[in-house]
Symmetry: C2
Subunit: 435 residues, 2 copies
């Protein structure tokens, strides 16, 4: 999280470091301020200064000149604790950070440089949140979400459970977007929550004018105060900053590398939209779990030794054998079409099921429902004991198998759990909704 | 491709076999005819009879009674060859069948039971095609497309090349839908074609009232006569039977398990639509390769030992090591977000690239563009030598690496080819088009 490329050379050439006070001159305009860190996803062309006014400004280094005014320390800012009185009329919402682009809002806006954030950091950066709730913030991880793993799902689930059991009216989880949908599915199965649990993130960090962090965070706090007691993902519904969708945690997927409205509900519609502090349920016929009193229930045994294999023309059956021999406890195949893989894989699949290793079939189509009863390859897979993921997303099927094998290793129980709708992950009938 | 379940029991109980002449009585109505085979995707509740009129009828076995009238042979129908004179005013279009649901139209409508189809079978089933072209048909494979593999891509490419070099004005390829987009990408790279090559298929076979086979086949013949000399996929554009889209073979993907409009162009729009024998280019600014004279060029060396690995939370780095040790020549990772995988995979990725095994990074988001310069994990992957798939579909990136490694094993040449747009697989800039 520092300068690189051209902007690094620019600073190095004047022996300028982060924390130094400098003057940057571009034509007739000069800016004086302290050199700040850049966000993780920043470009190489800008220097960011914190001006005396408190505002931060990003300056293009093209045709710019820099002058060192005063050497400074890398700002290990020791800000005074905020003394915010709890407002008895407002709800208590907890925000748990795991890292990712949305968390970088904090470092940038405060100028603080530390890996974790506190409630104070969060509120200095986004004081608007206080208008809507009493905020309690905690950083439990600071990772990019491609590094998420089942152990961290457990850690997050336990922290969320603690917050709820300590009285939080709802919980927001700040998370990187890459694997947010895997985590939202995992938390859906692990937690039986009486209050909303809302994952949110950002596609662009807050030192970019196009950052989506603010709307997503505000929408998430609104969602956390709602009566929808499910694990959800709250992210931009459109490319502009008008409103967010609340997606069911088991039915959502990141579908675009860079767009702000990258998250989409698949095989269903989002539960609700959030605009200006208001929640609108999208379909009154779609059921959702209502807020209730009581403690959260936690089933956090997971079996991380589950393989997730994409089928493709040319795949070798040896890849199944490899996972069997390596002691994997379950296999999810992301098949083609209605849930197929090459028929020459079937002997290896048989070997897996004969060894007590459940094999689940999802579809790389993503939309629609697995149906292995239509074509002969599917019927052979059924005969080999393969379990249909039905209309579960393949990612959700993978997460669910990791969770299910944490609850039982009985093959028939695994089959039954996988094919029973627990957290909205399986639709009652085939959805024809498409885009 | 025969009866099963309840309908099998129904026939077996009367000792009735395919080819027998029987009478089925339901309440006051009786039907006499010959028992036909069912299509691959047929249900278990119907018996299909060929009536004396020549029509086929599907009869629900519920409350039905059957009586055997005359034992018959399984109809190894030896139909007289059609004597169709070539129409000098019409274009010569070749239809090559590889199998799949679309090919089942033939067996069903003719009552013939044989694995291959001939031009005559095709024309008996779909005589309307003759109004639009002189049709030359050939069956080169009869497989469900989940069983497609690189060797078959070569076989199909060579057959197509033969047809073109023997004077075909355009070629239609009947193909199962599961992996049609892998094959269309493969044919795009293997063939440099002066005429259209159009893959088509069906989501539902022709003994179902909702079959999409007819419109897709008719649209494909229209496309094969057009001036678009590219490898394309021609499939339903909507859920009804109104028109088809022509998708570029490298930019298309099966996106729904069962809908007729399952194929979607990703990160671009379809090249054209086909309605009632007319082609409409969708965007006059989108370039396409125009029909030309001359022979087809064939570059059909492939390297089938390429791994295609989906990244997920909990994946083990050992899966990379496994493929290195097994002698794989290339690896495509379907990463998360902008093109990431867990950072703990990076040592294994380094080992691959150090061993001269190119590693290509695509995104499981599908939409958008890989950009490994934004976050630290991506930059570390770039340092490890990972090649960006840019805005290629991960499936296309896999197919392209199979093809590229057939042309060269020089790492820098592989990188250059993978990142050069050859057949419309890479867009000039990031597409924000989404659904």
């Amino acid at each position: 999280m520092s300068y690189r490329g051209a902007s690094k050379q620019f600073l190095d050439s004047q022996d300028i470091s982060i924390g130094d006070k400098i003057r940057i001159t571009k034509k007739d305009v000069s800016y004086e301020g302290m050199v700040l860190e850049r966000a993780e996803d920043a470009d190489e062309k800008h220097i960011v200064l914190k001006l005396a006014s408190g505002y931060n400004v990003g300056l293009d280094i093209l045709d710019a000149e820099a002058k060192l005014l005063e050497k400074g320390e890398k700002p290990k800012i020791e800000l005074q604790p905020l003394e915010i009185e709890k407002d008895g009329k407002k709800r208590d919402i907890s925000i748990i950070s795991t890292g990712g682009t949305v968390a970088s809002i904090i470092d940038y806006k405060t100028g603080a440089v530390h890996p974790a954030f506190t409630a104070d950091d969060l509120l200095r950066a986004t004081p608007e949140l206080l208008e809507h709730a009493n905020i309690n913030g905690e950083a439990i991880l600071n990772i990019l979400s491609e590094n998420m793993k089942p152990d961290y799902w457990i850690k997050a689930a336990r922290s969320i459970a603690d917050e709820i059991n300590n009285g939080a009216y709802g919980v927001v989880v700040a998370h990187g977007t890459d694997t947010m949908h895997y985590t939202s599915a995992a938390l859906s199965f692990i937690l039986d929550t009486p209050v909303p649990v809302v994952l949110t993130g950002a596609q662009r960090s807050s030192d970019r004018p196009s950052s989506d962090a603010f709307l997503n965070l505000m929408g998430s706090v609104t969602a956390a105060k709602s009566d929808i007691a499910e694990v959800m993902v709250c992210m931009h519904a459109t490319e502009d900053d008008s409103y967010c969708y609340l997606h069911r945690g088991t039915k959502v997927r990141k579908m675009h590398t860079s767009r702000r409205d990258t998250f989409r509900s698949i095989n269903t519609q989002p539960i609700a939209k959030v605009r200006n502090g208001n929640i609108t349920i999208l379909d009154e016929n779609q059921e959702y779990k209502k807020r209730e009193n009581g403690e959260v229930k936690l089933q956090d045994n997971l079996e991380p030794k589950v393989a997730f294999i994409k089928s493709y023309p040319g795949i070798s059956g040896e890849i199944i054998d490899y996972h069997i021999d390596k002691g994997y406890k379950g296999i999810v195949i992301e098949g083609t079409g209605l849930g197929h893989c090459p028929d020459y894989l079937i002997p290896a699949v048989n070997r897996a099921t004969d060894s007590g290793i459940p094999v689940v079939m999802g579809s790389q189509c993503l939309y629609g429902r697995v149906n292995m009863n239509v074509y002969s390859t599917g019927r052979e897979l059924v005969s080999a004991g393969v379990i249909s993921a039905l209309d579960m997303l393949p990612e959700t099927a993978y997460v669910k198998l990791v969770w299910t094998l944490g609850q039982t290793d009985n093959m028939e129980e695994v089959r039954k759990i996988m094919q029973t709708n627990l957290k909205g992950e399986i639709g009652a009938k085939s959805s024809q909704k498409f885009f």
